[in-house]
């Protein structure tokens, strides 16, 4: 059975290692914070200027001066720090953030990503996404395998304007975990009960299918 959004987040959480600084994008990536094992130390960076981001505040404790990049009220944990946007993107460009998890509209088999603009529609902007994808050594895309029209989002080539070139390393969808390899999308894991044929049918880009494709453990 295909995963739901929480399932995708749960699977991605398994990629997070002890001592990682992680930047979570809006949407499914935000849910990843709910699945971090208790026994590892992880700090969340929000690019508007906090490291050591905590959970949402309890009602009545909201602070207008303490928000995340999604403009939501948040809290800070012991050991947190605040800083300006140049320092924040210095951390990102300088590869000090260990892992970036973000959503996408399209990913190409070369690791290109498109997630900020649909021609003809209102464009809200790329925010920090272009800085994040251009700099992170370790980028995981969290997205659905196909769009609302049922078209594959894993393509030979992106059709939408790019956010970054040859930068995505791994993709987790409701159907599969895939890695970008020089030859295309390497199918690493299937969602529980999902067949390789289903994944193949939903993937427009070149799919590399190993002999054995284990099921995800979620």
């Amino acid at each position: 059975m295909a995963l739901d959004k929480n399932g995708i987040a749960q699977r991605i959480a398994q990629e997070i290692q002890d001592g990682f600084y992680v930047n979570l994008g809006i949407g499914i990536p935000t849910l990843v914070a709910n699945y971090i094992p208790e026994n590892i130390a992880v700090e969340f960076q929000s690019e508007n200027g906090i490291l050591g981001m905590g959970p949402f505040p309890v009602a009545g404790q909201e602070d207008a001066d303490l928000i995340n990049a999604g403009k939501q009220t948040i809290t800070s944990l012991p050991g947190a720090s605040f800083f300006d946007s140049a320092m924040s993107f210095g951390m990102i460009r300088g590869k000090h953030v260990d892992l970036t998890i973000l959503g996408a509209m399209e990913v190409s088999e070369k690791g290109d990503i498109a997630n900020w603009k649909i021609p003809g529609k209102m464009v809200k902007g790329m925010g920090g996404a272009m800085d994040l994808v251009a700099s992170a050594e370790n980028i995981i895309v969290a997205m659905m395998h196909t769009n609302r029209q049922g078209d594959s989002k894993l393509l030979p080539k992106c059709s939408l304007p790019l956010t970054g070139v040859a930068c995505v390393k791994k993709i987790v969808t409701e159907l599969a975990v895939l890695e970008i390899q020089p030859e295309g999308f390497l199918l690493c894991e299937r969602a529980p009960g999902v067949s390789v044929a289903q994944i193949k049918a939903a993937t427009a880009g070149k799919l590399i299918i190993p002999e054995e494709v284990p099921e995800m453990r979620v």
């Binding site: 200027g49 946007s85 272009m130």
Partner: protein
């Protein structure tokens, strides 16, 4: 000690005129210079180019300038949290230059620090890099970006002293420190204006040399855009 205080927001903003380029601190509605924006609405200069990470909401922040059609061009990383912005943009009344957030921050910092241009990997291979010089460093392609040039920077700080030294609070810091000294004239409003010597010199985020005018702000609303609490 060089005194940077002006008595009122009116005195601080009076010489803004049509066609100028203005920088505004803030991320979303967090840390925006509310007093200066209100005064710019009253003063009503037109054809402004505004550099700000976001463009406010319909009835607050830079949305107020948009409502009065004071803005000709926005330079931002993320916009469109308001309907009037969308209308003006789609109708072609409003020009929008979208810039990656880290590049936006660094272009401010470069202006502050006298660095005319720098290279960043952000935007390489995208339409943001179109028409810009690119170059490979350490095997990786980068885009050359240049420092902003602006007439005024409007900044909101938490505490400040009469010498113009500033301290910011929480994530209301964001772009505010980077815009100090990044324009010809830097105007700062503070929640608490203190005498010189009241701030620990080790804790000052922005030294007064980067500030031209400082005033005690009033009636800060500090609106929350996405109030989110635990279940």
């Amino acid at each position: 000690m060089i005194d940077k205080t002006v008595a009122t927001v009116t005195a601080a903003v009076a010489d803004v005129s049509d066609g100028m380029t203005l920088m505004f601190g803030g991320f979303g509605l967090c840390g925006i210079p509310e007093n200066a924006i209100q005064e710019l609405v009253r003063l009503n200069p037109k054809n402004l180019c505004c550099i700000s990470n976001n463009a406010g909401v319909d009835d607050f922040g830079l949305g107020l300038l948009l409502q009065q059609k004071q803005v000709k061009k926005m330079i931002s990383s993320y916009v469109g949290e308001n309907a009037e912005f969308e209308r003006q943009m789609l109708s072609g009344e409003l020009e929008v230059e979208l810039t990656p957030q880290g590049t936006l921050a660094e272009k401010c910092r470069a202006a502050q620090a006298g660095i005319p241009a720098f290279f960043t990997p952000a935007g390489y291979g995208t339409e943001v890099a179109e028409g810009k010089e690119t170059r490979i460093f350490n095997g990786k392609p980068h885009v050359m970006e240049t420092a902003f040039q602006a007439d005024f920077a409007f900044v909101k700080a938490w505490k400040g002293d009469v010498a113009g030294n500033l301290i910011f609070k929480g994530t209301a810091r964001n772009f505010n420190p980077l815009m100090c000294g990044a324009a010809k004239i830097t105007v700062v409003e503070v929640e608490e204006l203190l005498p010189a010597g009241a701030l620990d010199p080790n804790q000052i985020h922005i030294p007064g040399i980067l500030v031209d005018r400082i005033f005690q702000g009033v009636n800060f609303e500090k609106r929350i855009e996405q109030r989110t609490v635990q279940n």
